[in-house]
Symmetry: C2
């Protein structure tokens, strides 16, 4: 498939690299290609410069948000939650019409201190905001409840014996995302229901952040035991 991954951070890189490795045609979307490629310092969380990563990753190209998204069958929103609506607007409403938008972002808000709270929760969610803003996109929420390395390789923790959630209004879009997750190695995939069910997985983040702190590792995951 032709896939756009919006976002050049840890999450975007993990997903783009894995998808390309699986044979998909992957373009990473960024606001300013020249600026992104010109950076020669590690980013805020210590990732090597994007260009360094790109040069060492086969099968991935970089383009503007709009160029990356044009003709893509799946658009992955791997931007920060605060930037997601702007990034998707830059991708272009026409480009998103009928397109699967896999939203893996979290609406973290550190303005009140650490650990971050959520800027939207409880009676709304980032996924719902995206779906409302782009009503013809086929938004699916998934993978937001874990570290990037675990997203693309669930065997990284507990032999892969844990759970990923799907939320979305479009059954066909969820089926495509389910297939992608299966190729990543996921087996316990729970479809929670429509896009409003994304509130639950998004509201897992505060617990995840505390567990990261308490356990001293981001390589942790939730399993729904039943």
């Amino acid at each position: 498939m032709r896939i756009a991954v919006l976002g050049t951070g840890s999450v975007g890189r993990a997903l783009a690299g894995r998808l390309a490795g699986l044979g998909h045609e992957v373009t990473v979307g960024t606001r300013d290609v020249r600026a992104t490629m010109a950076r020669d310092e590690p980013d805020a969380v210590g990732n090597p410069p994007f260009r360094t990563w790109l040069e060492s990753t086969a099968g991935v190209t970089v383009a503007t948000m709009a160029d990356a998204t044009t003709g893509a069958e799946v658009v992955v929103n791997a931007t920060s939650g605060a930037a997601s609506l702007d990034a998707l607007a830059a991708a272009g409403e026409d480009n998103l019409a009928g397109t699967i938008v896999l939203d893996v972002a979290n609406a973290l808000d550190a303005s009140g201190g650490m650990p971050p709270a959520l800027s939207v929760s409880n009676t709304d969610s980032l996924a719902e905001r995206i779906q409302r803003r782009f009503p013809t996109a086929r938004v699916v929420k998934a993978l937001n409840t874990m570290n990037a390395a675990v997203m693309v390789d669930p065997s990284r923790v507990g032999g892969g014996d844990h759970t990923v959630f799907l939320s979305g209004d479009d059954a066909g879009a969820k089926a495509v995302v389910r297939d992608l997750l299966t190729t990543f190695g996921w087996s316990d995939i729970i479809d929670l229901g429509d896009i409003t069910t994304a509130r639950g997985p998004e509201m897992l983040l505060p617990l995840w952040l505390r567990l990261f702190s308490t356990l001293g590792t981001p390589v942790l995951q939730f399993k729904v035991v039943r």
Copy 2:
């Protein structure tokens, strides 16, 4: 130990019965003893009348919130989240001074429809509200992330291989609660930190409610895989 369990619903009954079975001296607190004992119809969720349950449960007595709490070493808040502050106020601020308050409640708010949202979340929690309202109480949040039957017998799901969380400012109170949980059969007990960390487990409820609906059973639990 002498333990007060505030609340006569499924959660209060499960905890009171289990604690009495373990040899503790248990009194269930209710607002109006006469009214509680006079009911002869099943409650809103189909539990038998309280008196029927009480008569078949050895070692449990019933009293007003204040009488149940007087002299108790541990007070379990098993009331609904909306009623919790009033119930604890009825128990009496003096009775709660220095006392361990095990808060298992959830601040569910169905005023906007089903499934319920939370009436407090994200930047605050029910446990924090209780701790602020009763600053000399030693509040510990635990057990709110599961069905009552699983709280008191974790082996009911997945052979007990799943996780319960502790949050609270008082290390001694958390140690007492940890010991109680161990006697219930809990082995994977994660101390998240101070009382503000209760936001995480409280924010699990929206996901739990959706899973209950999707999986068709409330006998489900979260395991932190690491």
